[in-house]
């Protein structure tokens, strides 16, 4: 409470504060409206989607539309494809990044710093610059329209090595020195000491990697055609057909596509917010 608030007549300050909170509640509800509109349109007949005046909530909610959308395109297959692709990339990223991060955090070798700076520089490269040569590469490997084309080129990023290194460096070195004296190898130390202590950082990296790959659109759009290997974002655009759009199924699909991110955000908000705060910090450091 600031001095000026206590100085003002108590009821006036109280009313102002209440109004401020109520206004924020209203803004929040307006902000959440597209989520509501998505669900409301997912559970109605397609003929009611563009009714005038608009129907806020259908008289009869067709929750079965979710099941119909699942088997329609086949959207269920897109869901499994996305889960498989994003899951595989997440696992590869965690393994590869942990190894590199440990080297950067703990090993004293004169050339490591230069490599680390080079890793950081690669963060600046936009995906749009890479997709054309990568597509070429996939053509030559005969990987177009395969899972490996969706997974392998996207599984290597220096971001993970960087994030984990920051975390590893905060782990007290004494924990490792005892193990080293006992003759444990570096790999053993990483597996038995460092990784078990790094669960929050590994979780954050897994979350970032999984959601960004789940949402990825440009690369699947380029390297996949047809429905066999299509991922969810690609599948969503397929509801726009020649004979008009199946809005209700599309909205059901959109809701399904957002479900993992929304659930993970709510469950892990504490970690996410902390992770972002690390990126800010007082005075920008």
């Amino acid at each position: 409470m600031t001095p000026e608030q206590t100085a003002a007549p108590i009821n006036l300050a109280g009313i102002g504060r209440l109004a401020s909170h109520l206004a924020m509640v209203v803004i929040s509800l307006v902000f959440l409206f597209p989520f509501f509109w998505m669900i409301s349109n997912a559970v109605r007949a397609n003929s009611e989607v563009l009714a005038i005046p608009p129907i806020l909530w259908p008289n009869e909610a067709h929750w079965g539309n979710f099941i119909a959308a699942w088997s329609y395109l086949p959207f269920g297959r897109f869901f499994l494809n996305s889960a498989f692709v994003a899951g595989s990339i997440t696992i590869i990223t965690l393994v590869v990044s942990s190894l590199a991060a440990y080297a950067f955090a703990r090993l004293r070798v004169w050339w490591l710093n230069s490599i680390f700076v080079a890793y950081l520089a690669t963060l600046m490269v936009p995906q749009a610059v890479l997709v054309i040569p990568l597509f070429l590469m996939m053509t030559h490997l005969d990987w177009v329209n395969t899972y490996q084309a969706l997974i392998i080129p996207m599984a290597f990023s220096s971001f993970g090595a960087f994030l984990l290194r920051q975390f590893f460096m905060q782990i007290p070195i004494e924990l490792e020195e005892a193990a080293m004296i006992d003759g444990a190898s570096r790999l053993r130390i990483l597996l038995t000491i460092i990784l078990p202590l790094s669960a929050p950082a590994l979780g954050l990296l897994a979350l970032f990697t999984f959601t960004s790959q789940w949402n990825s659109f440009l690369w699947p759009l380029i390297v996949v055609y047809g429905t066999e290997h299509a991922t969810i974002p690609l599948g969503l655009t397929m509801f726009q057909g020649e004979q008009g759009t199946d809005w209700n199924y599309m909205m059901a699909g959109a809701a399904i596509s957002m479900m993992p991110a929304v659930i993970l955000t709510i469950l892990l908000q504490r970690y996410i917010f902390k992770g972002i705060a690390i990126g800010s910090g007082f005075g920008g450091r």
Binding site: A128, V129, F273
Partner: protein, 333 residues
């Protein structure tokens, strides 16, 4: 490109910039070493070198094959007239010459990208900073409100854009609302003068929550004693905001701006889902033009040259960020 990926990269790049300073600054580098160099024996150092090679091998191999080689290849391609089926022919800088002097659509596309980036960035910063200050002044519900605005951040941009497309589509909810209020606004996605506004609205809804959180965290980390001291000296809430809070979070603010600009310059998903670059090429951006030239007309060499224009703009922005950050670090050190 998804927001989550870019955001994740943003966090990395932010701290990366700090790291870069530490690595390149000899005085900072010395203090970062956890142990004195003398404690590390010769054999240990050799073991370390050995281990480092093995630990880095997977990621170095992956990054070389799927980042360094494609990066070099795309630069090389940008000097060819390659069109998927025919063999590529070296054409020197003529792609770039054509882009900058002949192509009538290029300046339109560049202009669209700059307009989008500028407008989106301005609105994003005003919204996220304003809401962050507002929310941090509340006595209850802070975390809940932040969560509400953050909720779309990790969701697929394509899904978000299609939900908004339903709202904006002709005869949809937006048209009904505009008609009932008798507002002089045409349909957003089919009017060439307004279509970009639709793309910006969707991007703001999906993206401003991240900066809200970033700035919120910076505001929370301002020591209360600074604000109390200023209040005792008679500074009003407004003065405390402009002369203390804004100044103290300015490095974070600037970082957020640069990262948002870099993300915005690459905009693709929203454009694809909402307008496919249309009507005409009213919403075609650099990101969309790269996809369009490369994968609908198969002018790969030309697309590569557009992608390098984008890359050069992003590199320039990153260098500006690094420069100014170095300055800031000196200021409050």
């Amino acid at each position: 490109m998804s927001i989550a990926r870019d955001r994740a990269v943003a966090i990395g790049a932010r701290s990366a910039a700090n790291e870069l300073l530490a690595v390149t600054d000899p005085s900072a580098g010395a203090s970062r070493k956890p142990r004195p160099a003398a404690a590390v024996g010769y054999s240990r150092r050799r073991q370390d070198a050995h281990a480092a090679i093995w630990f880095l091998l997977p990621s170095l191999t992956g990054l070389t094959l799927f980042l360094i080689v494609p990066l070099a290849a795309s630069l090389a391609l940008s000097f060819t007239n390659w069109q998927l089926l025919a063999d590529p022919k070296f054409v020197g800088i003529s792609n770039y010459v054509r882009l900058l002097t002949f192509d009538p659509t290029f300046y339109r596309i560049l202009g669209n990208t700059v307009l989008y980036t500028f407008e989106y960035l301005t609105l994003n910063i005003i919204l996220s900073l304003g809401m962050a200050v507002w929310i941090s002044s509340l006595s209850w519900g802070k975390t809940l409100f932040r969560l509400v605005f953050f909720l779309p951040t990790f969701t697929p941009l394509i899904g978000v854009s299609l939900v908004w497309l339903l709202i904006f589509t002709p005869e949809g909810l937006m048209d009904w609302l505009v008609a009932s209020l008798h507002l002089p606004i045409p349909n957003l996605v089919t009017d060439p003068n307004w279509a970009m506004q639709a793309v910006i609205i969707v991007s703001l809804w999906a993206g401003f929550g991240y900066n809200l959180l970033l700035f919120g965290a910076a505001l929370e980390s301002i020591p209360q004693s600074y604000l109390d001291a200023a209040a005792i000296d008679g500074a009003s809430a407004w003065q405390r905001f402009w002369s203390i809070k804004l100044w103290l979070i300015s490095p974070t603010l600037f970082f957020g701006m640069v990262m948002t600009a870099i993300t915005a310059l690459q905009v693709f998903d929203q454009v694809y889902a909402l307008t496919r670059g249309g009507p005409g090429n009213a919403t075609a951006t650099l990101g969309f033009a790269i996809y369009n030239s490369g994968f609908t007309t198969y002018k790969m060499g030309y697309a590569a040259s557009i992608s390098w224009v984008l890359f050069v703009i992003i590199m320039a922005l990153t260098l500006v960020q690094l420069r100014l950050q170095r300055k800031w670090v000196h200021y409050d050190a």
